[in-house]
Structure formats: structure tokens, C-alpha cells
């Protein structure tokens, strides 16, 4: 393996690359020079430290490898374009040279979607991070995709608005990542998921064409081509700008929480609240085990499930939502636990210390988010909890319901354990995932609610989509005949 360490006397790196390159680039030097000419030499790198930095995203298996001194996969180049035209030219170059290109935001994805498994050019979008326009009249913001989530939301807040898209990764993800993985935020029961929030996009397609959708409230002019890019995880193009809905910053916020003896009445309470057309911004229901882990100080919730509600918006509406929600929760025999659990959640909602604490101790775990209609929800919950425990070594299997619709719910499962002797972490990891995916499909759920497909769910996409999988493959082949856009992902190459 060639490394770009200039001093020949230095010892060679000893780290293992999990997905080693199978094919060498035809002319690495020539491509590097062309990239430098196109983007400026300060915007192109093939340095060892950069290759390592872009070898992974926040896929937990990658962290497990990191601890053992392994890196998932090395790109050949990293580039930082500054405008859409550069990206268009870059894509044309990659097509000509048959070099993969992988769009990259801030690498917070958890399914390996940004790992350069076939090498190629990482397009880091962080230099395209400008808020182009905040339009107070039409309640729109036009923004470049490389902007950090926290920077974006705070800038809006300073101007008196919110986008309402607050994922747990807010601090460490970009708008481009949200769009590419069709993300959902914690406040999405009220504000919607990213596909509900986005109004228009500009994107570069795999052969360099630039498409822009109109900034209009709605249109009935054929298929929504631009929405193909949402959830395409970099396999169908590069999103270069987006216009999103914004809302006046909420004037009131109300916090409520209730303990329920079981998960079922808690889910029923939310189903009934949403059926009234009442949409609290945040709704979360924690099962008994998660209450023990996260809300152990809530006396009334000991051994029970806990529902937390956060309503926000215009004062009169919030008061009404609060009143209706409260009545229904009591009717479903919820026991009021006050504001404190919600305050606690607000304080700890971005806490991601678990992986840093437990992975170095040999713990292997992950989160699995799936969605299902109300009628099948309890069966899905029970079945996945049961199946996650079936893999030897698993000692943690719990869930909370994290996103809600009048039609159903998203469960966010968490598993963890220590592989038994002789079992590799990746074998353990895959065994639990396989059981969960199989069970989810059998129960009638969708295998991902908001984390996406990436590498982790790639082998399950065909069964998930049915005949539509072949349509997606045909679309991919038509738009990207050379398969340069984020190859090796989403199971589209089978």
C-alpha cells in the first residue's frame, strides 16, 4: 500500500484498511493535477491525514474498528468545491476518469453511507455553507448544503425564526446530510421531516447536469424529480442548494410528562392526540428499561413507561394543545410527572457519550429505527426486543418511540452487548441487525425511519422495496451509467 508520508525513513503505517482498494486509479497524478486546476490547489488533498479523516462516518462499527487501529476505507482525494459549477465540472471529470465521488457533509451518518468503500473523490461540501436568503414574507430560507445544523438553526433563531429540524446530530451534521439521508428531527411531529420542510433544491446530477426546482408553495407539473435526490444518499447526485420552510420562533413552550403502566396505553394516548389534529413538537415514549437508564430519578415512573411532550408555537394554540393532550393522557390512565423529565431530556438530548464510554470496554452496540402503522406497533416492538436478545452476548435491548404520525409510529431500538469468545465484533453486530431486519419486515414495518440505508441496510433494500427496487436500480443506471456516485451503497449494484 502506498502512503503519502514524505519521509522515506519513517516506518510505514500499520493500520488495517477494512475495505481495501481493489483497483488502482489509472493516473492518480494526472487526476490530482486536473482537480487542482479545477478547484485550486488549496481545495484538493491527497494527504495521508486527510485520507484517514475521511475514511469513515459515525457508523458505530467504524468506531469499534478505530479502537483496534483499523480504518474503514481510504479515499484517493478530498476536494472542497466552492460553487455548483465546479461540482458540475468535477462530476464530468469523474465520469471521464471513472473515479467514484462521495459527497460528504460532517460525517455524522450512522449507516456507513459516506464511507468511500471503492476509493475515489470525497466531495466535502463544507465550503458551500452560506445562508443565501432569509425570506420573512414567504417564510423561506435558501441555504447551501454544507452549513452545520447548529449554525443554521441559531442563525435562524437570531433572525426570529426556526426551521424546526432538530436531529440529535444537530451539532455535527449538515443540511446536505439531512437531505441526502431523508432525515427526521426530534421536533418533527409538529414541523415535519426534512422532505416536508424542503420546498426546492438545486442539484448536480451524475453526468454534470444542474437541476433547479422552482421556489413555489406547490406545483402539479409532473413527477417530483427533485425529490428523487432526497434519501438518495449521494447515489443520484450532489445537492448544492435548498430552500426550506421556516417558522416564526415559537412564543410559548409547554412541557408535560406522564407515566404509564405499559407501552400500549401510552401509544394509544398519542394516537388519539394526533387524531385530534394536535401535533406536539416533541413526543417520546420510553420503555421501562430506558426509563431506568435515563429517568431513574422520576419516582412516579419507576418500573413504568414515560411519555414526554413538548408543545410550542402561538400561545393560544399551545394552551389548547396542552389541554387536549392532558385530558387524553389522563383518560388513558397516564400519571402526570410534571415538567422536570422534559427539562432533563432537553438538557441531555444531544448526549452521545455512550459510544465513547462503552465501546472502548469491548461493548458492541447500535441503534435501529423502524416505523410501522398503529395496528401492528405493539407486535413490532415486542418482536424486535425479543429477537435482539436472541444473539448470544446481548444484554441490552430497549426502545423508545421517537416519531409519531396519525397513522403510526417510529421505534428507536438500542442493543448492546459483548460478543462471546471467538465471535468478531462485526459478526455479533451483523447477527443482531439481521434478526432485527428480518423481524421488522415480517411484522410489516419499514426497515428504516430516518437513518437511511448506507452499508448497514444495503442487503435488505431489495426486500423492503419489492418491485420498486428494480425501478430504483433502473433510475440509477439511467442517471449514473458509469456508477460513479457513491458506489457500493444501498445495495444498488446487485
Amino acid at each position: 500500500m502506498k502512503h503519502d508520508i514524505t519521509d522515506p525513513n519513517l516506518p510505514q503505517p500499520k493500520y488495517e484498511v477494512v475495505y481495501p482498494r481493489r483497483q488502482k486509479l489509472a493516473d492518480e497524478k494526472k487526476i490530482f493535477e486536473e482537480l487542482s486546476q479545477l478547484l485550486g490547489s488549496e481545495n484538493v488533498s491527497n494527504r495521508e491525514v486527510d485520507k484517514i479523516a475521511y475514511s469513515r462516518d459515525y457508523w458505530l462499527l467504524a468506531s469499534t474498528w478505530m479502537i483496534k487501529g483499523k480504518v474503514p476505507a481510504l479515499p484517493d482525494f478530498i476536494v472542497w468545491p466552492e460553487n455548483t459549477e465546479q461540482i458540475s465540472k468535477l462530476v464530468k471529470l469523474a465520469n471521464r476518469e471513472k473515479v467514484p465521488i462521495i459527497p460528504f457533509g460532517e460525517g455524522s451518518g450512522v449507516v456507513g453511507g459516506a464511507v468511500p468503500v471503492k476509493g475515489g473523490i470525497i466531495i466535502d461540501m463544507k465550503k458551500m455553507n452560506r445562508i443565501v436568503k432569509i425570506d420573512a414574507t414567504n417564510l423561506l430560507v435558501t441555504v447551501q448544503p454544507g452549513i452545520n445544523g447548529m449554525t443554521f438553526e441559531r442563525t435562524l433563531n437570531d433572525a426570529g425564526f426556526t426551521c424546526g429540524h432538530i436531529p440529535q446530530s444537530l451539532y455535527c451534521s449538515t443540511l446536505g446530510g439531512w437531505l441526502a439521508s431523508r432525515a427526521a428531527g426530534q421536533f418533527s411531529t409538529k414541523y415535519g421531516k426534512i422532505e416536508d420542510i424542503v420546498v426546492a433544491i438545486e442539484a448536480v446530477l451524475p453526468q454534470g447536469e444542474i437541476i433547479r426546482s422552482k421556489i413555489v408553495p406547490r406545483s402539479s407539473t409532473g413527477p417530483m424529480i427533485e425529490k428523487l435526490l432526497l434519501g438518495s444518499e449521494g447515489t443520484l447526485g450532489v445537492i448544492t442548494e435548498a430552500t426550506l420552510k421556516i417558522w416564526p420562533y415559537p412564543e410559548k413552550r409547554a412541557l408535560r410528562s406522564y407515566a404509564f403502566d405499559h407501552l400500549k396505553p401510552a401509544l394509544e394516548a398519542i394516537r388519539r392526540i394526533l387524531a385530534k389534529n394536535v401535533y406536539p413538537a416533541v413526543v417520546r415514549i420510553y420503555d421501562e428499561l430506558e426509563v431506568e437508564r435515563h429517568f431513574s430519578e422520576v419516582e412516579k415512573a419507576k418500573g413504568k413507561c414515560l411519555l414526554i411532550l413538548l408543545m410550542e408555537g402561538a400561545k393560544e394554540l399551545v394552551e389548547l394543545e396542552e389541554k387536549i393532550s392532558h385530558r387524553i393522557c389522563l383518560e388513558e390512565e397516564g400519571n402526570e410527572c410534571g415538567e422536570e423529565p422534559v427539562q432533563h431530556w432537553l438538557k441531555t438530548r444531544f448526549d452521545v457519550t455512550y459510544s465513547s464510554i462503552y465501546l472502548p470496554q469491548g461493548f458492541v452496540g447500535d441503534t435501529i429505527e423502524v416505523a410501522i402503522t398503529w395496528d401492528k406497533a405493539m407486535n413490532l416492538y415486542n418482536s424486535i426486543i425479543k429477537t435482539m436478545k436472541e444473539t448470544e452476548g446481548v444484554f441490552l435491548a430497549s426502545a423508545h418511540a421517537s416519531h409519531f404520525y396519525p397513522q403510526g409510529v417510529c421505534f428507536y431500538f438500542i442493543f448492546g452487548g459483548i460478543p462471546t469468545e471467538g465471535v468478531k465484533p462485526e459478526e455479533f453486530f451483523t447477527a443482531v441487525w439481521d434478526n432485527a431486519m428480518r423481524t421488522c419486515l415480517d411484522a410489516g414495518g419499514t426497515i428504516s425511519h430516518h437513518h437511511g440505508v448506507g452499508l448497514v441496510r444495503a442487503k435488505w433494500l431489495k426486500e423492503e422495496l419489492g418491485e420498486a427496487y428494480n425501478v430504483v436500480k433502473r433510475i440509477k443506471k439511467t442517471l449514473d451509467p458509469s456508477n460513479i456516485m457513491n458506489p457500493g451503497k444501498m445495495g444498488l449494484e446487485k
Binding site: K14, I52, Y58, E106, G107, S108, N148, C172, S356, P360
Partner: protein
């Protein structure tokens, strides 16, 4: 190994929850310069998976030392603290960047970073005179901002404070510590412990937040506990005002924007004192930038980034200067390094003052 490998690893496998607050990442936009990105490289080097090579070593020094990461870190890690152990290992392997080695060698030879400016008035003559208060003059102010030294001394005199300075004062040792030369740093700390004892002072007043932080927090970590109260000058000025020993009387009707120095606001947790001093001046209007208090933004000259990447440091400076300048052409800060940095970058387009300079104007008619 000096690096705390457990903590380096914790940071390395975090998804970079502090990334939006890191001025170096903001300037460079590269994952390798992100806090976690740097710690991943550090972890691979420290576990012998990567050699200590130039690019990787320089990354360890690409830190503004601003502690902005700590404010958002779920573990409350300060990546500059985590980097310190790694830098010490780099120094132990004699692999520190040449520019850093040169600076530390000069520091050891000259005992301070800059020659004393000829415009500094008579401060260094009082060799170890017994006094209640020691005015500890920072390298940057004594070398490049004589106005700060002179204003501070003048205010102390007006308040009839019994103060001394140290003849031929050394640097506090901050650069040696921040660059991983902890043994060199210890020599400076040991010397001061002796000097302070001889002077018999009860309070040490520093015009530089780095000196105050080093004396107050880092000397004790090296086992050198000073018996004195260590204050930043803005804290001491507020005390003088509250005790009625100086009274700002001369109106100043200008509008200023205040820039919090990182070490003062974050490490020493001093935010309100300089503001209280300034708002006690009749007529003075003080505006705040978006990034203020504990959320201040580095001036670009903190930590070690400037040593290995002046271009990155300049980008950081320009971003902050632009933000401040959008509020007022008159910037007040409380750190000589920030002041010099802004003055150099602004090239006369904005005026930059130390708290001491603005306070002094209100104490006497110019």
C-alpha cells in the same frame, strides 16, 4: 507516554459534537483539523499504527487553544488539554515542528518573547521591591503594547496602590507549556514562586489573561502553589472602582464592541468584570457581538495554530474582526495578544483598545 490515551480515544470516537465551535475547523473546513479528527490521528500515532510524521505532528499543533470545544463537549474535554500530552510525546521524540523549537529556544535564551519596548515607562526598575501588589507585565504588552502597560500602571498609581514590578521580568512560560515543553515551563514556574515570595505580595495583577491563567491554574498543576491571589487587571480595576479608589468621571460617548479573550472568559470564567468597569464610564455604550462571553470567538492568535499555519490563523482573525467591525469601529478587549492581532489585521481601519486604556481616559481629561 504523556498523552491520556483513554480521553484521546473518547474524543476520537465522538462524532465531533463541538465542531461548529472550533475556529480552526471553521477556517480550514477539513475533517482532519476537526477536534475528533485530530484526536483520531493522535490515537493512531500513540498506538503505533501511524508514525509520528510531519503532517500528523502539525495537526496536533493546529489548535487555537480557545477551549470553545469544552463548552459543548459532553465530557467537558478541552482538546487543547488533550493535545498537550500528545505534544509532550512529540517533544520527547524530538519531533516538534522546527518553528516551535526555535521559539522555545529563543524563549529559554531571552527569558521572554519580545524585547521591552522603549515606550514602556519605568516599570522594570523596581527590582523585587516589597509591595502588596505585584503588577505582572505580560510579554506582548511589554514588547508591543506599551500603552497597556503604561495605562495599567497609571491607574494603579492614581488609586495609590502599593505595587511593584519585576526587574527584567521573564515570560510566565505559557508558550513552553502550550507547545509541549513542560520541563522548560517548570523552570519558569519555579523562578516565579521564589520571586513572589521575595516581594511578599498578596495579590498578583496580570494584564494578560494567559499569564493569569498560567499563574493561577497551571503552576499549581506542576506542583508550584503560589500563595498569592492572582487577578486579571480588569478584575482588579473593578475592585478599585467598587472601593472608590478610582472613579470614572470623564464622559466617553463612543459606542464600543467588547471582545472576550478566550482564556479570560472560558478558562478564568471572567466575563462581567471588564463589562462592569466599562459600563461604569459615563456615556459609554457597550455592544455585544453574536459570539460573546463563554461563546466568544478566537482572535486567531491563540494556542499554537499560528505557529504551524499562519494562513489559518489569519482567516480566524478576519472572521472575528468582521463580526466585531459590523457592530463598531471601536473594539475593546482585555488581552494584549487579541489587541495586537486585531491591530495588525485591521491595518488602521478599526481602533482597538485595552480596558485599561479606556478606563484611564475616563479618570483624567486627555
Amino acid at each position: 507516554m504523556k498523552a491520556n490515551l483513554d480521553n484521546v480515544l473518547k474524543c476520537a470516537i465522538c462524532p465531533n459534537m463541538c465542531r461548529f465551535a472550533c475556529p480552526v475547523l471553521d477556517a480550514e473546513k477539513s475533517e482532519s483539523t476537526s477536534p475528533s479528527g485530530r484526536m483520531r490521528i493522535a490515537y493512531l500515532m500513540e498506538t503505533d499504527k501511524l508514525p509520528f510524521f510531519r503532517e500528523a505532528i502539525e495537526l496536533m499543533y493546529k489548535c487555537a487553544g480557545c477551549s470553545a470545544c469544552q463548552f459543548w463537549c459532553p465530557f467537558q474535554f478541552d482538546v487543547s488539554d488533550l493535545s498537550l500530552g500528545v505534544m509532550e510525546d512529540i517533544v520527547d521524540k524530538s519531533k516538534a515542528p522546527p518553528v516551535v523549537v526555535r521559539l522555545v529556544k529563543d524563549l529559554v535564551k531571552n527569558r521572554r518573547l519580545y524585547r521591552i519596548s522603549p515606550h514602556v515607562r519605568g516599570l522594570t526598575e523596581n527590582s523585587l521591591r516589597k509591595a502588596d501588589v505585584l503588577f505582572f507585565v505580560g510579554c506582548v504588552s511589554v514588547g508591543q503594547l506599551p500603552g497597556v502597560v503604561n495605562s495599567t500602571a497609571e491607574i494603579l498609581k492614581m488609586a495609590e496602590v502599593d505595587f511593584a514590578t519585576i526587574s527584567g521580568q521573564w515570560c510566565c512560560g505559557a508558550p513552553a507549556e502550550f507547545f509541549g515543553f513542560s520541563e522548560v515551563f517548570k523552570q519558569f514556574a519555579e523562578r516565579y514562586a521564589e520571586d513572589f515570595e521575595k516581594i511578599g505580595c498578596k495579590t498578583v495583577v496580570c494584564d494578560c489573561p494567559a499569564c493569569a491563567y498560567i499563574l493561577k491554574e497551571l503552576y499549581p498543576l506542576k506542583g508550584i502553589k503560589l500563595g498569592q491571589e492572582v487577578l486579571h487587571s480588569s478584575q482588579f480595576f473593578l475592585r478599585l472602582i467598587k472601593e472608590g479608589l478610582v472613579k470614572p468621571k470623564v464622559p466617553n460617548n463612543a459606542t464600543y464592541v467588547f471582545h472576550d479573550p478566550c482564556l479570560l472568559a472560558r478558562k478564568l470564567k471572567v466575563e462581567s468584570d471588564p463589562r462592569e468597569v466599562l459600563t461604569s464610564i459615563p456615556g459609554l455604550k457597550l455592544r455585544e457581538p453574536r459570539f460573546t462571553g463563554k461563546e466568544t470567538w478566537c482572535c486567531g492568535n491563540g494556542g499554537t495554530v499560528r505557529m504551524v499555519s499562519p494562513k489559518t490563523a489569519r482567516k480566524i482573525t478576519n472572521r472575528r474582526l468582521q463580526e466585531l467591525n459590523s457592530i463598531s469601529n471601536f473594539i475593546i478587549t482585555a488581552c494584549p495578544t487579541c489587541e495586537v492581532t486585531f491591530k495588525d489585521a485591521a491595518a488602521g481601519e478599526v481602533e482597538v483598545f485595552d480596558v485599561s486604556e479606556v478606563l484611564l481616559k475616563s479618570l483624567r481629561k486627555v
